[in-house]
């Protein structure tokens, strides 16, 4: 803090610093329960997986640069293509948006000092890391999953895929689901119960609405995937008959359960991006978001309706039309909440006073890609159209416009936007803009021609294609685009790394943001807020009187909560102050428990049932150890 504090206030701040002091070194990071440190762990791990997924993408594009290439053998192509999807979805986009952005920012935005369950938070991270290493162990031992990211039976059954590759997939995804489920539960309880008193639902930042929607979607979608993977493993390892048509089973059962998970999953992917966009736009247009209640509602509605559209991934499998129309109808209406948000963003941009700095450029790029990707998506809601273009590159174009253009662009913009807050340094603006343009042009060049080549009939997931059919030049452009895109991303990484060491020192609020994280120092202290903030609108940083009241409160010693590792809990709807909670500090139990779970899954994979039971017992013991230490004792 740069303002001089009177001695009383200073003494309170010093006390907070002492109580919240964090262990340093490797041991400190392994036992941390601080949401900010956990966010950073998630960030680096998911960026590493992003790199892996990116390499896989470049391998695919290099293989497809021209007909009949042999960069990748057919088997290698199948594994690369599968791992590209699995890595990007389960090991990059979900962890970076929920684990990195969500973890770091949600407690700050609601005026809390940590998540509701700090040890569970750490546990989510270690389980995520374990699941990623687990799946990649399969890849590096020559048994990488190879039946596509949606792993349809019967290709994934033991008959057609006898090795352990699919077991790495199925067990790995169940393992990964534990991490995401724990994180989702943590977010919901945090957002419901830990908001600063006064932050009723109508005053909660839109970013938090997006994460509330994401978390509820994860809670209800992941069990379907886990059940599906359990069925698959039972069929493969114990000879069950879920997917065996000759014994009363059904291969479509896999597809139904998968897409009951899979469609909400893609809304889970896009919603954090919506949240980031709705945070960046008000800051850089210097006005409030148009139609706040409708945007908040739209975020939740997209997730909710998204549960009812799953069979639109199955329009071409032979279901009767009276069944599929339910899903076509819902698929057409699900576009409306997204459109509400889009119009709100555009209106805010047009009626505001925009400052075209790097974060806003990424959001504008996001809007462009989202419009195009959304339009190609809504076209698929028409069953006849879908049946012509299913399994062609038109689908690939649609979802890459959405997943890369619309989900990842705001993440990259968010990296720039919150970089000063997290590191205390400013990024280089010129290099930032260049990295945006390279990535934008590269993405357009990579993914747009896929619409055309898909309409011309090029099927997806094929390791090569014949010459002379008219697809060659499009594929060439796409590969060139992919390399340009990669260059843009490399430049982004270089910018952030160099700026971390040599960037200008950043102040608390370099952009004039509206939400509470901009009131802390850059980076924030371990206790986030010396005083639990006073809140009377959804744009707290723009309420000057409230921020002055905070300073007065610090001087009076009100809502400082410095008697222990303390933070307030309030009621769900109106955030009435309810109790003062003691939070646990550093603990070894999260990582120990995660290690035991890794052991359980490894033993299931290798078929050592006795060892699995040993790990199960150890897992129970570590849970007991964890819960034996009550938060006030930690």
């Amino acid at each position: 803090m740069t303002i001089a504090l009177p001695p009383e206030a200073l003494r309170r701040v010093r006390r907070l610093e002492r109580v919240w002091e964090e262990r340093q070194g490797v041991l400190g990071w392994i036992t941390t329960t601080d949401h900010k440190r956990i966010g950073i762990l998630y960030l680096f791990t998911s960026l590493l997986f992003f790199g892996a997924g990116g390499v896989e993408a470049l391998l695919i594009r290099t293989q497809l640069i021209a007909p009949n290439q042999s960069t990748l053998s057919p088997a290698a192509f199948d594994t690369t293509m599968t791992m590209h999807g699995v890595t990007m979805i389960f090991l990059f986009v979900i962890p970076i948006s929920t684990g990195a952005f969500g973890n770091y920012l949600v407690p700050l935005m609601i005026g809390a000092r940590d998540m509701a369950f700090p040890r569970l938070n750490a546990f989510s991270y270690w389980v995520f890391l374990g699941s990623g290493l687990f799946i990649y162990t399969g890849v590096f031992t020559g048994h990488g999953p190879n039946a596509g990211w949606f792993d349809y039976v019967p290709l994934a059954s033991r008959t057609y895929n006898p090795g352990p590759a699919i077991d790495f997939y199925a067990l790995g995804l169940i393992f990964n689901a534990i991490s995401s489920t724990a994180a989702a539960i943590n977010f919901i309880v945090t957002i419901f119960k830990m908001r600063a008193p006064g932050m009723s639902l109508n005053r909660m930042p839109l970013f938090c609405y997006a994460f509330l929607a994401v978390s509820f979607a994860l809670v209800f979608a992941l069990p379907a995937l886990s059940v599906d993977c359990v069925f698959l493993e039972l069929d493969r390892r114990l000879g069950f008959s879920f997917f065996a048509p000759g014994r009363g089973g059904d291969v479509l059962l896999w597809q139904h359960l998968f897409w009951i998970f899979g469609h909400p999953e893609v809304y889970i992917i896009i919603l954090p991006a919506f949240g980031i966009a709705t945070s960046i736009i008000p800051t850089f247009t210097r006005r409030r978001m148009v139609a706040f209640p409708m945007v908040a509602l739209a975020e939740i509605l997209v997730a909710f309706i998204g549960f009812g559209v799953w069979a639109h991934h199955m329009f071409a499998v032979g279901l009767s039309t009276i069944t599929t129309v339910y899903f076509a109808a819902a698929s057409m209406i699900v576009v409306i909440p997204s459109a509400i948000q889009l119009f709100a963003w555009l209106t805010t941009l047009v009626t505001g006073r925009p400052i075209f700095k790097t974060p806003l450029l990424w959001i504008i790029g996001f809007i462009v890609f989202f419009i195009i990707g959304g339009l190609s998506g809504i076209m698929f809601a028409a069953i006849p159209f879908d049946q012509q273009l299913t399994d062609t590159y038109f689908v690939v174009a649609h979802f890459h416009f959405i997943i890369f253009g619309a989900a990842v662009f705001p993440l990259l913009g968010g990296l720039y936007y919150w970089f000063p807050k997290v590191t205390g340094r400013m990024y280089h603006e010129g290099m930032g803009k260049l990295s945006f343009w390279l990535t934008f042009v590269g993405s357009a060049l990579t993914f747009f021609p896929m619409h055309i080549v898909g309409l011309l009939g090029m099927p997806r997931r094929q390791y090569t294609y014949p010459a002379g059919v008219g697809w060659d030049s499009y594929n060439l452009f796409e590969t060139i685009g992919a390399y340009i895109l990669a260059a843009g991303l490399v430049l982004l990484v270089v910018n952030l790394v160099v700026s971390y060491f040599r960037g200008a020192v950043a102040e608390a609020d370099p952009f004039g943001g509206a939400t509470l994280e901009w009131s802390t120092s850059s980076p924030p202290p371990p206790y986030n807020y010396a005083v639990i903030p006073t809140v009377s609108s959804a744009y707290p940083m723009w309420d000057v009187e409230d921020r002055q009241e905070d300073v007065r409160k610090l001087n009076r010693g009100e809502m400082v909560l410095d008697e222990g590792h303390e933070t307030p809990a309030s009621t769900v709807l109106d955030a009435n102050f309810d109790e003062i909670l003691d939070m646990p500090s550093d603990s070894p139990w999260p990582i120990v428990t995660a290690l035991m779970i890794t052991g359980i899954f490894a033993m299931i994979l290798t078929g050592h049932l006795v060892a699995m039971c040993v790990f199960l017992a150890l897992f129970a013991a570590s849970l007991a150890g964890w819960h034996g230490v009550e938060p006030q004792e930690a």
Binding site: L120, T181, V189, V219, P223, S241, A244, R247, V572, L581
Partner: protein, 205 residues
């Protein structure tokens, strides 16, 4: 202010007072509720799979497989559901600050639930002798659904054993929440027992 520092309630009557004075449900309760939501969804998927496969098969159960028993499963389920009564009163006792009565009522519940589980294991193994998941989707979903429920009963018993162990040291705010979570979990398992048993005996209805 009147707002308590909840974690400072480290003895019986203090913990009870904090619990009664709260406006909202405690964080631990919310966490348990959401976890239960995921498990409910899981069982929803299992039961939906049961009926999906049923629609997929002209004969259900398939030829050669006998119809499920009706009486014994229903009786066992009724016994399990009845343990929610001592559990309900255990929570009331805890909220009144009476750790000993809470302990006793949970102990009674655990004994009955343990007996229930033993009989169910016997039934499960004897069913396996009569039909195999290798032979039919019916058997596959039958054993998976019922096995999943039994696994949840085991977890519930483990949670209660943990609560019983910790209650030797009296009630604190943390343990009070633990008692409420254990009870909530058992209400959920009992509800599941009814849904699962109805699905299980459906072909004989």
């Amino acid at each position: 202010m009147g707002v308590p520092r909840s974690m400072e309630a480290t003895y019986d009557s203090a913990a009870a007072r904090v619990d009664r004075g709260r406006l909202a449900m405690p964080n631990g309760w919310w966490g348990a509720a959401l976890f239960i939501a995921t498990e409910l969804t899981l069982f929803g998927c299992l039961i939906a799979t049961y009926f999906y496969l049923r629609f997929n098969n002209p004969h259900w159960p398939p030829p050669g497989v006998e119809h499920p028993k009706v009486a014994l499963p229903l009786i066992l389920t009724a016994i399990l559901v009845s343990t929610t009564v001592p559990i309900f009163f255990a929570v009331r006792a805890a909220r009144a600050g009476n750790a000993r009565l809470t302990w006793l009522l949970f102990f009674v519940a655990v004994l009955v639930q343990g007996g229930y589980f033993g009989i169910q294991v016997h039934e499960f193994l004897s069913d396996l002798d009569k039909m195999s998941p290798h032979d039919s989707a019916y058997a596959s979903i039958y054993f998976t659904l019922i096995g999943a429920h039994h696994a949840h009963v085991v977890v519930g018993i483990a949670i209660e054993l943990w609560v019983l162990w910790k209650l030797f040291g009296g009630l604190t705010n943390y343990r009070m929440i633990g008692v409420r979570v254990a009870a909530f979990y058992w209400y959920f398992v009992s509800f599941l027992a009814v849904a699962v048993v109805l699905t299980q005996i459906y072909p004989s209805l």
